[in-house]
């Protein structure tokens, strides 16, 4: 899906990515400016998929926002989109959720139109080129402040 690459595009990378393979999560941070005020975004990069049993559900608890990433170049990664979103809403009622189609650089314009129509993502990003990554996080930050 490219979650970690997306993450790397935005955060400082304080800790090693090894944590993702050991405890299945890596926490990082970035301070952004929202309407002239500094806001610390603490981001948890969770390894694996929402529906997988091996991902501890406790990792989701306490989140103010969730970025659900699927790979635009591998359509099957969006197969569980609906049920996963339902599960997230159950674990975190009222939480801000953004659906992101990543790896935009790997698909054609025609394919993008179809994928957008089918999955209705909030953002189409490319961790490789950095397209829309900053916008995604900044929009979440602004929405969280006005939440």
């Amino acid at each position: 899906m490219g979650k970690t690459s997306l993450f790397h595009r935005f955060v400082y990378n304080t800790f090693s990515d090894q944590y993702l393979t050991t405890i299945g999560v890596k926490v990082d941070k970035r301070v952004v400016d929202v309407s002239g005020e500094p806001l610390s975004l603490i981001l948890w990069d969770i390894a694996g998929e929402v529906s997988q049993k091996k991902v501890p559900k406790t990792y989701f608890l306490g989140a103010s926002a969730v970025i659900y990433v699927f790979d635009l170049s591998r359509k099957q990664t969006a197969d569980n989109l609906k049920s996963d979103l339902k599960l997230i809403q159950k674990i975190l009622p009222g939480c801000l959720i953004k659906v992101v189609g990543n790896k935009k650089d790997l698909v054609s314009e025609e394919e993008l139109i179809i994928l957008e129509r089918t999955h209705n993502p909030d953002f189409l990003t490319s961790a490789k080129t950095g397209e829309n990554v900053e916008t995604l996080f900044m929009e979440i930050a602004s929405e969280l402040v006005s939440y």
Binding site: T14, I42, W44, K57, Y59
Partner: protein, 284 residues
């Protein structure tokens, strides 16, 4: 005075009759009016009535209003469940810990008494005194006393930092709070031991003592190895800190709370060592 100049009520026979007949009532009205206007005579009459009503109210209050008060209290408890739990948590935790510590202490004392009576105990004592080991041992142990180097108060689940203090330069504290929470969640989830939480992490010369409360937890990074007794002492200190400094609704985005907790954490945990020399002497 000519009849035409007389006041109307004097010339009016009906009015004259009314004056004659109602004079006692008018006098009484004037008297009552005087009582009402004057504070002292009014108090003389009203105070006993109020007192009587009050005592009657007090006597019947539980019967008449108990149900309403019970409902009100019940509603209040339900509405402020989180705050109630946060307030009771440290008190109950301390009570239970103290009870268990006391029981263990009694057990230890009884074992020690038996040992004291034995030949080996007497020999050990003579050896330490003759060789002067006791003083040297004391000095060494004193130098190696565990010290709190970092203290964190972290919101449960989200891992957001509520307050922190440190005696040394550390990686971003917000990140430490996040990763610590992730590790805690991982351990609880991986080992599934019901409501049991991660309480101690050991790394090199450090021990991280973790004490959970309802909506947040306290983590202390301690340099040096703590004995069980020292851990208990530190747990008591944490409970006292929570009782005194966190008995209010806390929010992660409260900047004044961050400042306050940073200052108080230093005062509570970083100005003294958890175990005094006297306590060590008692252990030897």
């Amino acid at each position: 005075m000519p009849v035409s100049q007389q006041p109307e009520h004097q010339s009016d026979p009906l009015q004259q009759l009314r004056n004659i007949l109602l004079r006692p009532e008018q006098e009484r009205i004037t008297h009552i009016h005087n009582i009402l206007e004057e504070k002292e005579p009014l108090a003389e009459r009203v105070v006993p009535i109020i007192e009587e009503q009050l005592s009657e109210f007090e006597a019947h209050f539980p019967k008449a209003y108990q149900l309403a008060v019970d409902r009100l209290v019940e509603r209040k408890i339900r509405e402020s469940q989180e705050e109630m739990i946060d307030m009771l948590y440290p008190v109950m935790g301390t009570m239970i810990r103290k009870y268990i510590a006391q029981q263990l202490q009694e057990l230890r004392e009884s074992v020690e008494q038996q040992l004291e009576r034995s030949f080996l105990a007497r020999l050990r004592d003579r050896f330490f005194r003759a060789g002067g080991v006791r003083e040297a041992d004391l000095v060494l142990r004193n130098a190696a006393l565990p010290r709190v180097r970092e203290a964190y108060i972290i919101e449960q689940h989200s891992g957001l930092l509520l307050g922190s203090a440190s005696t040394q330069e550390v990686v971003d504290k917000e990140l430490i709070a996040g990763m610590l929470t992730a590790i805690k969640s991982f351990v609880v989830d991986a080992f599934r031991r019901g409501t049991t939480q991660l309480e101690l992490i050991e790394y090199a010369g450090y021990q991280i003592l973790i004490r959970d409360f309802h909506t947040y937890y306290v983590a202390l990074a301690v340099e040096g190895k703590m004995t069980t007794k020292e851990q208990e002492q530190l747990s008591d200190q944490i409970a006292t800190f929570v009782q005194n400094e966190l008995a209010r609704k806390i929010r992660a985005d409260d900047a004044s709370l961050h400042l306050h907790l940073g200052k108080t954490l230093k005062e509570y945990f970083m100005k003294t060592t958890p175990l005094s020399t006297e306590a060590i002497q008692g252990q030897l």
